[in-house]
Amino acid sequence: MLMKIDKIIGSAIPLKGNDIDTDRIIPARFLKCVVFDGLGHHVFEDDRREEKSRGSVHPFDHPEYKKGTILVVNNNFGCGSSREHAPQALKRFGIKAIIGESFAEIFFGNCLALGVPCLRVGEKEAALIQTMIEEKPSEQYTVDISDLTLKKGKDVICPLFMQGTVQEQFLSGTWDVTGILLENQSLIKQVASRLPYLNWA
């Protein structure tokens, strides 16, 4: 039952700018919640409102990007606090993979725990991909974890970078502790069957 992640296929969202922090991703007032579920609605809420008041449209409000699952960012994305709410909010919005020039370390780790791969590209490539998306928002891309490339159809656009051990965790599904634990389901049942108190219950 390990959730192996080898490919993410979908349209993309370009989000330009360096040092976009976790407070911008999900403003602190949305942290008081029963479930992480609602966070998707509030992702980038303040940034989106600000863009609106200036008469422009934030990429997360752009009707053509609405179904985007691949987020393309620039430098030091996700800096700030350690809260899991930021990647949770992005994931709940529908983001399944993030391509960027670099990521804040804790944010990267939190994304890994949620099964959202963060892949690095060079500055030029990031800009190139963002432009491609803007030119044709409906285009489908493939983030291929097995050969670490970004593809459009069968054409490779550029290589993607990710540490080998992290790549392995996504490909094998071991990024997910729950998955590792679930793998031992027959052993779990064995232990359960020999625990005396379970048979009296």
Binding site: K32, V34, V35, L182, N184, V191, Y197
Partner: protein
């Protein structure tokens, strides 16, 4: 070489050794409450996972419950939302929910033992650090985070690193007016609030053996305040007598088998501990915390320490505590004015705690101007106490007699200190702001000592009142 109970229980619950080197441990019982479980259930839904053993999970609502009235919907909309989430989650995943409306609710660490869910030799987890309470029955019980709650829901297992075991032995007879709470506050004072990090504490010795189950629960409850995630007492006849006949206890022909299993997990006489410490019961007096950690305590007749007597590493915390509490070094704790008296919590909200407090309060009046609360640990305890007439004693003295819940222990409900109020509290934590006011102050003590403080309006020595009564 013999084994400790901790080693034996871990052994029979080990599913596998994981590539990370941690153990995959089977969790016999998971207890759930409204604050830390909703995100875990959300993760289960999101991943389309199942709850592997619904019958090994039990839920109750306690942290956010208003204790003036259970009337729904709760005035606090977030509390109502959390309550509804728990109701929905337990219904959707077929998990037994101990319902307030059916008068079977209460604090999670009170109802586990009350229902006979908590049993010797079992592993128990809950998204709450005071899960160590259940160790009083010879279970290995510990608090976990939300992602681990998810893991236990989905697999009934979790990944964990084994602990070392320190035997904390207390020998001899306790003096009158000295209770289990004083013993554990004493131990925390001596071993430090971080002393137990990496350890399970096995509480043993003649003092512990002489204690009833509720006293043992008070001891194990606060193991976590000593830094130990796990605290336990070896099961004995008292454990079995308490458990027998409880709704979830083994029945009929299973009972004898159960007792031999319980006996088999007891620490062997030749077991080796990673460390052993011994204290004499006779040296323990009624204890009161004066600071902002449960380790900052003195005997009720003692003085707040002098800065000169505090080790260099603790100077900063010492100064911070004095400043926060507005206390002066070297002054007696006796006579410190208190504004609020709180009797309750998973540490000291059980029937024998209420009895001990009522015995002190009987025939006295709460000092004018003080707020005094009794919040039973469960609805069952509340009913039992009412049958015994304890509520009348408390109410006649000027206490408020509330519905069960966590209440002022952590002030997630409307029960909160105001401003710099000082609370004499039978709860477990005196952290800054713990009781609801960012500047509120908490003095931890036994329920009898809280009762005594409520009568005089100042920190008082309960032994004097007991002496007085004997005359």
């Amino acid at each position: 070489m013999g084994k400790t109970l901790y080693e034996k229980v871990l052994e029979i619950h080990t599913v596998a050794k994981l590539p990370s080197g941690h153990l995959q441990l089977f969790v016999g019982t998971q207890l759930l409450h409204e604050v830390t479980s909703p995100q875990a259930f959300a993760m289960i839904r999101e991943r389309d996972l199942k709850v592997l053993y619904p019958s090994r999970n039990f839920a109750t609502a306690d942290h956010i419950i208003p204790t003036t009235s259970y009337q729904r919907p709760f005035a606090d909309t977030v509390a109502e939302e959390m309550m509804q989430a728990l109701e929905k989650n337990t219904a959707d995943f077929r998990i037994r929910f101990f319902d307030l409306e059916k008068e079977e609710g209460g604090i999670v660490h009170v109802i586990g033992p009350e229902q006979g869910i908590t049993q010797p030799g079992m592993t128990i987890t809950c998204g709450d650090s005071h899960t160590s309470t259940h160790g009083a029955f010879g279970a290995i019980a510990f608090g976990i985070g939300t992602s681990q709650i998810r893991d236990v829901l989905a697999t009934q297992t979790l990944s964990m690193e084994p602990l070392k075991v320190r035997q904390v032995r207390i020998e001899g007879k306790l003096n009158p007016g000295v209770y289990a709470k004083d013993v554990i506050l004493f131990v925390i004072n001596k071993l430090g609030v971080k002393g137990g990090v990496g350890y399970a504490y096995e509480f043993a010795g003649s003092t512990i053996e002489a204690m009833n189950m509720e006293e043992r629960m008070t001891i194990c409850n606060m193991a976590i305040e000593a830094g130990a995630r796990v605290g336990y007492v070896n099961p004995d006849q008292k454990t079995y007598d308490y458990l027998k006949g409880k709704p979830y206890a083994p029945k009929d022909k299973d009972w004898d088998k159960a007792v031999s299993f319980y006996e088999s997990v007891r620490t062997d006489p030749d077991a080796r501990f990673d460390d052993t410490v011994v204290f004499q019961a006779s040296s323990i007096e009624p204890m009161v915390t004066w600071g902002i950690t449960p380790g900052q305590s003195v005997a009720v007749t003692g003085n707040i320490p002098l800065a000169a007597s505090v080790p260099p590493g603790e100077q900063k915390l010492f100064k911070e505590a004095l400043e926060y509490m507005s206390f002066t070094e070297g002054t007696p704790i006796l006579g410190t004015p208190v504004d609020v008296a709180f009797i309750g919590s998973c540490t000291n909200g059980r029937l024998s705690d209420l009895e001990a407090a009522a015995e002190i309060v009987r025939g006295h009046q709460v000092k004018k101007g003080m707020l005094a609360l009794v919040v039973p640990g469960s609805q069952k305890i509340k009913r039992q106490a009412e049958q015994m007439g304890l509520h009348t004693i408390f109410k006649e003295a000027g206490f408020e007699w509330r519905e069960a819940g966590c209440s002022l222990c952590l002030a997630m409900n409307p029960d909160q200190l105001k401003g710099k109020q000082i609370s004499a509290s039978s709860s477990n934590r005196n952290f800054k702001g713990r009781q609801g006011s960012p500047t509120g102050r908490t003095l931890l003590m036994s329920p009898a000592m809280v009762a005594c403080a409520s009568i005089y309006g100042v920190v008082s020595d309960v032994r004097e009142l007991i002496q007085e009564r004997k005359k």
